[in-house]
């Protein structure tokens, strides 16, 4: 497997604040990596470093290049949608397409036109006249018409209604993603994307709390629903979190084999959102 992004001991400090604190990870080709973290966790700073928008300490390599020093060359093979809509409000749709066609070597105007045909976006419209959902559709159409190796999405569906959000990911999977492409995506709404990820990374207070392949989660993490005298016995195996629900106790275990927990209650694989909360709470206490 070829590693598209490699980070070794990457840090970024703002004064005393360690926005990214000694972080190491890899993203391989053909993966969809989810970067999950609360506000202020360091997600955006880390993405900025990957995109060469900020300098950092440590070794960071993206597509075999130094993102900060070889940014121009690297960006020919990278696409990016920021959490803040950045399209100028005065521009008309066809002017925007002409601009990207003139400035980006890997952009296919024909492809963008095709993708826009399935939306209600008119080429004469100004960006300011489009709804928030339509601006995102326009942005996505432009991005999907660029033949890039790495697509970086920073909270791409923030503020969109559920219909647009679903459509966004459906389009991405139907018309863009294949084994030659790699996607790095950040979001708060884990539930919405957990089934399309191949890999997941939790970040909080600048540190990586978990980096795992989605397939391996059932081997490492177990949720137990238990009650009565089994609670104390289960506690003996050292759960990473414990909560009460309708008189039952829910516990999460890390690297405790299921054989040990068999017979103590109902076993299942925890949802990513629950696992995330447990890991963040555990790291902070």
């Amino acid at each position: 497997m070829t590693s598209l992004v490699t980070a070794r001991n990457v840090s970024k400090h703002f004064g005393d604040v360690r926005a990214v604190d000694d972080v190491s990870f890899e993203i391989e080709k053909g993966k969809i990596m989810g970067l999950i973290g609360p506000n202020g966790a360091g997600k955006t700073t880390l993405l900025k470093a990957v995109l060469g928008l900020t300098d950092c300490n440590g070794d960071l390599s993206v597509l075999g290049l130094d993102p900060f020093r070889q940014r121009k060359q690297m960006m020919q093979d990278i696409c990016f949608i920021a959490d803040v809509a950045v399209l100028p409000r005065w521009i008309r749709v066809y002017q925007l397409l002409e601009f990207v066609e003139a400035t980006h070597p890997n952009f296919s105007r024909q492809r963008a036109d095709e993708l826009l045909k399935s939306t209600k976006i008119m080429s004469q419209s100004k960006v300011r006249e489009l709804s928030k959902g339509m601006v995102t559709q326009l942005h996505l159409a432009i991005i999907m018409a660029i033949d890039a190796k790495l697509l970086v999405l920073d909270e791409p569906t923030l503020g969109l209604d559920i219909i647009f959000r679903k459509e966004f990911y459906a389009n991405l999977l139907a018309d863009y993603f294949d084994e030659e492409r790699t996607i790095l995506i950040t979001t708060h709404q884990v539930e919405e994307i957990e089934n399309l990820l191949t890999d997941i990374m939790f970040i909080d207070e600048g540190k990586i709390l978990l980096e795992a392949n989605m397939d391996s989660l059932p081997d490492s993490y177990t949720q137990l629903l238990t009650s009565g005298e089994n609670v104390a016995r289960a506690r003996g195996f050292g759960p990473i979190s414990e909560s009460e629900m309708f008189g039952k106790t829910v516990m999460l275990f890390e690297n405790i084999s299921r054989e040990n927990l068999e017979g103590l209650g109902e076993l299942s694989t925890p949802a990513v959102a629950d696992l995330f909360v447990a890991k963040v709470k555990g790291a902070r206490s």
């Binding site: 969809i32 459906a170 389009n171 089934n195 399309l196 990820l197 989605m214």
Partner: protein, 127 residues
């Protein structure tokens, strides 16, 4: 429509079960094409590898055949094979419990069959 995935089974397994159900119900017949991996992935917002894994299970069970560049197709006799397996499973796993209940309640064959209309067409009964 969004399917509700159960937490007890991996999603690829649930996908496999769904296709099996469709074959048993006759929605997918011999030689019919399965929906493409890309379409299923997009529709349910699943990673394409998950879909592929589910389909691979069906290939391994001999229910579905992969044709290079054209997709996945239901094998001839897939429904027959599934019916056989399902009947076997029912007789071994479920029937003993049902039988025990019948005996416990003291029901006899006449009472039981009175209410049932036996199906005229049983489908794939020639094994």
């Amino acid at each position: 429509m969004d399917p509700k995935w159960s937490e007890d089974l991996p999603i690829y397994r649930q996908l496999r079960d769904r296709v099996v159900e469709m074959i048993l119900e006759g929605v997918l017949g011999d030689g019919d094409a399965l929906p493409s991996v890309r379409n299923v992935a997009a529709e349910y917002r699943l990673n394409p590898l998950t879909v592929l894994k589910g389909y691979q299970e069906l290939v391994d069970e001999g229910l579905v055949e992969k044709k290079r560049g054209r997709g996945m197709f239901v094998n001839a006799g897939a429904r027959k094979q599934l019916l056989k397996d399902e009947r076997q499973r029912f007789l071994e796993k479920e029937w003993p419990a049902v039988l025990a209940t019948i005996e416990r309640l003291g029901l006899d064959a006449e009472q039981l069959t009175k209410e049932i209309k036996m199906p005229e067409e049983t489908g794939g009964d020639d094994d």
